[in-house]
């Protein structure tokens, strides 16, 4: 009897239990022996009671229906009471079978829905992202840090230092503000200027230093941007995208 215990959990109601009993008999619903079914059904209810399970009211209603059917069949047909009610109430046997057939159909439909549910769970829709055809953004190049600039300028200073061996003394004819104007003009002409090009015309250390200070000043004023487009590549100087602050506005100390 212990085996019943597991199965009770599964039944959704009396109709479900009846369908299970019919399936166990391996007969068609239309050909089932309802009397035998009634006996089986009531045996199950007994087991339920034995196991102290709470028996839902629906099971009891079904049990009484089955008992009613069974009681009718105990009498031979010719001895059955012919009350007028025969016409008004349908044959309870037919009514029950109709109900069972209907319930069975929906149970099958539920199984098909479940199959679709699982199928849908495993279906992946194609959701492409919208292709982006807008003008390729000027890819934000990694900005060169102050240290990158200092490294670059020291390399240039080294080169310049090697060049002027003559040890001639020049007067300081370069000012930072002058160099700022030169730089602004240079960058305005070309879109991007290489770092080394800034110093190509420099003749001595102080000119390099002036140019470099002018560059730093322009970066500080957000007029220019120094970027290193590729790793270990040369630093490039471009104009800042924002509306530039007029050079005259800021006081430039020499």
């Amino acid at each position: 009897m212990a085996e019943y215990k597991v199965q009770f959990e599964v039944f959704e109601g009396p109709l479900d239990l009846l369908l299970y009993l019919i399936r166990k008999e391996e007969v068609d619903i239309y050909e089932v022996n309802l009397t035998k079914l009634a006996t089986e059904f009531i045996r199950y209810i007994d087991v339920m009671r034995l196991l102290d399970l709470e028996i839902a009211g629906e099971f009891l209603v079904m049990a009484s229906t089955l008992m009613h059917i069974k009681s009718r069949e105990l009498l031979p047909k010719d001895q059955q009471v012919e009350t007028g009610e025969e016409e008004e109430t349908e044959d309870p046997r037919w009514e029950l079978i109709r109900q069972l057939v209907e319930y069975k159909k929906f149970k099958d439909a539920a199984a098909q829905l479940q199959a679709r549910e699982i199928e849908q769970e495993n279906t992946f829709p194609r959701l492409p992202i919208k292709p982006d055809f807008s003008a390729p953004e000027t890819t934000p190049k990694p900005e060169a840090s102050l240290f990158d600039l200092i490294n670059a300028v020291s390399a240039i200073l080294k080169r310049v230092g090697q060049r002027d061996d003559m040890r001639e003394i020049f007067e300081d004819k370069w000012s930072v503000s002058e160099k700022i104007e030169v730089l602004v003009k240079l960058v305005a002409e070309k879109t991007a200027v290489k770092f080394s090009d800034l110093f190509s015309g420099a003749t001595n250390r102080s000119e390099v230093v002036c140019t470099f200070l002018a560059l730093l000043e322009l970066i500080r004023m957000r007029q220019l941007i120094c970027a290193q487009p590729e790793d270990f590549g040369e630093i490039e100087i471009t104009r800042a995208p924002e509306p530039a602050v007029a050079v005259e506005d800021s006081k430039i100390a020499e």
């Binding site: 105990l74 047909k77 044959d91 057939v101 829709p125």
Partner: protein, 225 residues
């Protein structure tokens, strides 16, 4: 150029499922831009649907790993379920509410085929109360109140929602399996052949232990002090 291939190209690149109406609007918009698209400007929705169905059949016949799916009236390319293991590896498991329980599925099946239907009618078919289950289905948005029945008490009637179609990947309610048979109340012919031979009592009535059987059947008024 064939209409179905135009639709195929649109759906292949579409970001969301498209209905025949939306597709028609697209054809019209394309006709504004160039002469090549002009001939398809006045395409009717029926022709669109027919072309989509043809395209769907073509893909089915080709047995590709994807198909043209129509869910709740909108069309979209989707993978076949058997390729899920690889797609899960690619994009991860789909976020979906937990699967429906057996009672919920049964209740939903009855509602989907017999809508609009009252709660009492559902209970009649299932033979058990459905209050809790109905609550779940309403909360998940798979069914909704659609009106009131013209009977005593004017009880609420229920029907399925578009979310129901989406959840099960159905094109429409017509797409439900064996819809015709289950929707109309199957007045399965009242057969003459009944369970037992007429006129005969049940073969040896293997007696039900009556005392036990009667107890559940009758309340049994026991006048005991």
């Amino acid at each position: 150029m064939e209409l179905k291939f135009i639709l195929e190209s649109i759906l292949f690149s579409a970001q969301k499922p498209l209905s025949p109406k939306e597709l028609r609007d697209l054809l019209n918009a394309a006709a504004e831009h160039g002469d090549a698209a002009k001939p398809f400007k006045k395409t009717k929705e029926e022709d669109l649907t027919a072309a989509l169905e043809q395209l769907q059949k073509d893909h089915e016949a080709a047995q590709r790993s994807y198909r043209l799916a129509c869910v709740a009236g909108s069309w979209q390319f989707a993978s076949q379920p058997e390729f899920a293991p690889w797609l899960v590896a690619l994009v991860g498991v789909k976020a979906r509410p937990p699967r429906l329980s057996q009672p919920a599925l049964e209740t939903l099946a009855i509602i989907s085929y017999r809508q609009p239907i009252t709660r009492a009618e559902v209970e009649q078919v299932r033979g058990v109360a459905v209050d809790g289950v109905m609550q779940t289905l309403l909360e998940r948005g798979l069914v909704e109140q659609v009106g009131r029945a013209e009977v005593v008490g004017r009880p609420m009637t229920y029907g399925t929602t578009p979310a129901f179609l989406e959840y099960f990947g159905l094109r429409s309610l017509e797409d439900l399996p064996a819809a015709e048979e289950l929707r109309r109340l199957p007045v399965t012919k009242p057969e003459a052949l009944l369970t037992i031979d007429p006129g005969l009592a049940t073969a040896p009535p293997e007696q039900v232990t009556l005392e036990e059987a009667e107890k559940p059947a009758e309340p049994g008024p026991a006048p005991q002090a």
